[in-house]
Symmetry: C2
Subunit: 190 residues, 2 copies
DNA sequence: ACCTGAACACCGTTCAAGT
DNA sequence: ACCTGAACACCGTTCAAGT
């Protein structure tokens, strides 16, 4: 290798690797630079500092999560699809802790890319609700509600170190939400 | 003041102040030491490094959150109590962002204090569900489900910078959860 | 027992210099 | 255009020294 060449793709995958391996809070410019065998200052040619690196991981992580969730729902619809998506969501969070943690980023300035990827994830849920008969507004509310619940459960699971009865608790939450008022939502008192 | 004296209480309140003012990720030993007008190395006499400082804030934050939630439910029961608690939970998160962020800490070694404060928060929800007629196991499941949903919504709200229709979305989530299968949970298909 | 100051390793960031 | 190395400010942590 006569020359050291850093591509954005290589930078992204190296950053994702470090985040999943060492934890998102341990994601560092020097660490990623070492992974690429490059000086840390080189990264400034491609990204805007540490914040840029974190946003890069957040965008890639959200994209990967979206893909996993979307694929899990192929060939299913309604409650079955939503259950499969919730399970895939959790599996992704458990196997890619760094990428999952990057999802909880505090509000950044470059919300363009990040907001778009987040919207894409939500859209997967919206599509299922729409396919089940909910109109646009309610499908969106249901999608956000389910996403919030899933995310909150996984965030707390990620924090507490007691993975004992979490399967049953996750099922209970999803059942309690009735997967977002999908069926019989007209009969719910509210 | 002839002598500089650092108490654990002063250290805690200074750390909480910095976390809420500058953000939890900006919480720093040097920053807190400066707030106390003390050398940074002094803090090692009282706490175990930066991790200890973060755990301190997390424990204090969870305690404060628990107190706010508990107080909001005084004089109410059932759905009314749970709604008031959910609203108080959100109000605390919005007005004390640093303490709320400390709640999502990754698993630490000193889980004793932190796990106890988390348990105390959950207990408030459990008590309401028990008072509404649910038996111990189900009250605990319902409490965890509601806590997860609330937490997830607030975490996502804290991330996204669009506080437009969040009130309606929060209500929708709580309604969809039916506040944890409190009423008519026997009729839910699952 | 508590606090200090110096020291060290590490980090993010900038920038003149190389190719 | 991309990469480097030195430089700077800042941080967490340790420790001998002071009181």
């Amino acid at each position: 290798m006569p020359k050291k060449r850093v591509t954005l793709a290589a930078l992204t995958s190296a950053a994702v690797l470090v985040a999943d391996r060492d934890g998102f809070e341990a994601l560092t410019l020097n660490g990623v630079a070492a992974e690429l065998d490059v000086a840390a200052s080189t990264l400034y040619t491609h990204i805007y500092g540490l914040d840029g690196l974190k946003s890069l991981v957040a965008a890639a992580g959200t994209r990967n999560l979206t893909e996993a969730v979307r694929n899990s729902a192929i060939g299913a619809s309604g409650v079955d699809a939503l259950t499969a998506m919730a399970i895939a969501y959790r599996a992704f969070a458990l196997s890619h802790p760094g990428q999952f943690a990057s999802t909880l980023l505090p509000p950044r300035s470059d919300l363009d890319e990040l907001a778009a990827t987040n919207e894409a994830l939500l859209e997967v849920f919206v599509l299922v609700y729409r396919g089940a008969g909910l109109e646009a507004d309610e499908a969106r509310l249901a999608a956000r509600a389910l996403r919030s619940a899933i995310h909150g459960f996984l965030a707390l699971e990620h924090t507490t170190a007691t993975p004992s009865e979490h399967d049953a608790e996750y099922r209970y939450l999803l059942d309690a939400l009735q997967l977002g008022l999908l069926h019989d939502h007209a009969g719910v008192a509210r």
